[in-house]
Symmetry: C2
Subunit: 336 residues, 2 copies
């Protein structure tokens, strides 16, 4: 467990003592982040430019928070100016934003965001499930107060144990709650004792998914051996190579600005006249590759091609481009 | 997932359509059971004769329930008369009881309990984490409304996916809630769609710990091949054999009534003058066997010896008896 903690601290680029893995998948980490921070009536501002903001809105509302949304179109990201307006208008104590919007393929710039939030006495909560290890996120430097990710994306471990970390600012809020968090399983003050994150003696809390913890430990070690910079570079290169190839096939990328493209989840418009399900099923059946349709607002509009961790290679890009080319010819033929 | 559902229905002896595995360990299933049933202000009665009743009390209170306790000494179980008095006195809508009290080694008789609860318009919630497969629990026949277990006890799969099932009575309460459950990750109405438990089309809900699901599927298949009756018989025989051996070593069993002894977790008093930690550490170091100390109210009083699933064999009983004999001599010598 200590080694997992160290591995997460490296991957997140943080020195936070309150750093651990929750015993569940990415959604569970999202819920752990929100339920430990939020109390009844607390004001939360959620950036919504795809699926994940809507999900956090749902979770925070269940917990009795007063939730406000900052909304942009799927495929776009938020500027500091837009966020500042929201912070002024709603005066939230917590601001949520998705770093890697996997439903749309957008990466959210994070520089300056922590500082901005803190200026308005607001904590910054960032979802890095689809982005961690694939594109830079620097928890301490960017002033992120709560950060979580999953194990089965870039880390390439099985799903079921999810890294999470809290800044001292966030930790103080947790330790000074007026009410206990809604969950015992995810209660961070209890988990801190289980994981040896504070000065208390270690204490049994629940049975952890221990086999998955061993996998996560290995995955974090592999990332550390490769090095974060190398991992970011590799994901960027393979994504650029894929995007070039997609455009050569005559396809149009969903995210306009090249810098806003998430290298781990690449989104491309479904060309007119095609049925996305026919394409993805053809590719699965004939090429053994899973390409996803959209999710939420992007459903029916895009195909999503994942290039994450172990899977992010030039060889795989060539395979998926061949598969797509074949599918586009085949599915067109079917229509003629 | 359909095969896991069938396997759980067999292990639980139920036909409930709302049967699935939650994406977490036993504690997560406990929380899923409580948070889906309970709304703010609901009256809950909890049977406390060890650790698990206290844990459920904590969870239900976090959710704003009005919680009352029926308390007995650790090592004892509840009679139908005692429970009936509690139902009359507190008029709860939900009654919680632990089938296999793993902190004390007590098995709770369940016959007639469902009928009794229903007579008082109360739903019956049973924890079978430590007992499922090791001693009979018959969900439909015993009128249990909510039943859950873990994957890493008798089922001998890795921890991280936990069977749970809801009767139609319990399901109706869930589908008619006035407020959404506090958790999205564990929201049974959403999970029912994910698992294809109702007439709705299957719908993505969260990423499940899919590798652990495959393990659970195998474990359930192995139990079905062996047969529940055989599994119950084997656990009973090995536990009796262990209890005999413990008594021959001059040790005193913690649970007085032979019929009330849980065959999966066997509790024995720490003999006077011995330090439990010295014994368990000696056995771990010299015999490679983990014997546990007590938990909660039984801490410092008992040793707990698990005989579960794959691990419940005569061969292992002989090993642990030899190890204990050795430890008792060694730890005594140290004191002289």
């Amino acid at each position: 467990m200590d080694e997992i903690k160290l591995g997460i601290q490296y991957a997140f680029q943080t020195k936070n003592p309150l750093t651990l893995a929750v015993s569940g998948t990415g959604h569970c980490a999202m819920e752990a982040a929100v339920l430990n921070m939020v109390e009844q009536g607390d004001k939360v501002l959620v950036a919504v430019n795809g699926f994940w903001g809507e999900r956090v809105t749902d979770i925070a509302k269940r917990l009795g928070a007063e939730v406000h949304q900052l909304v942009k179109n799927p495929g776009e990201y938020f500027t500091l100016e837009e966020i500042e307006k929201g912070l002024i208008q709603y005066a939230p104590f917590l601001f949520f934003i998705t770093h890697g919007e996997s439903s749309t393929g957008v990466v959210q710039p994070l520089d300056g965001l922590g500082e901005l939030c803190h200026r308005y006495n607001c904590l910054l909560l960032v979802d890095a499930v689809a982005s961690l290890g694939g594109t830079p996120v620097l928890m301490d430097q960017q002033g992120i107060d709560i950060l979580y990710s999953g194990s089965q994306k870039v880390l390439s471990a099985p799903p079921g144990a999810s890294p999470i970390s809290f800044s001292n600012r966030a930790r103080k809020k947790i330790y000074n709650r007026k009410t206990k968090p809604s969950s015992f399983y995810l209660d961070m003050e209890e988990l801190a004792k289980y994981w040896g994150c504070d000065d208390n003696p270690r204490k049994y809390h629940h049975t952890a998914p221990i086999n998955t913890f061993f996998c996560l430990r290995e995955a974090l070690a592999a990332l550390a051996e490769k090095g974060l910079e190398n991992s970011w570079k590799l994901h960027k290169e393979n994504s650029l190579y894929l995007c070039e190839g997609l455009q050569k096939l005559g396809l149009k990328l969903f995210v306009k600005e090249p810098d806003a493209r998430l290298p781990t989840v690449n989104t491309v418009f479904i060309p007119e006249g095609y049925d996305w399900k026919e394409i993805t099923e053809y590719i699965m059946k004939n090429h053994g590759i899973e390409v996803s349709g959209g999710l939420g607002a992007s459903a029916g509009k895009v195909l999503r091609i994942g290039l994450m961790g172990y899977n992010s290679t030039k060889f795989n890009v060539d395979r998926v481009l061949r598969a797509l080319e074949d599918a586009l010819q085949h599915c067109l033929k079917n229509k003629l």
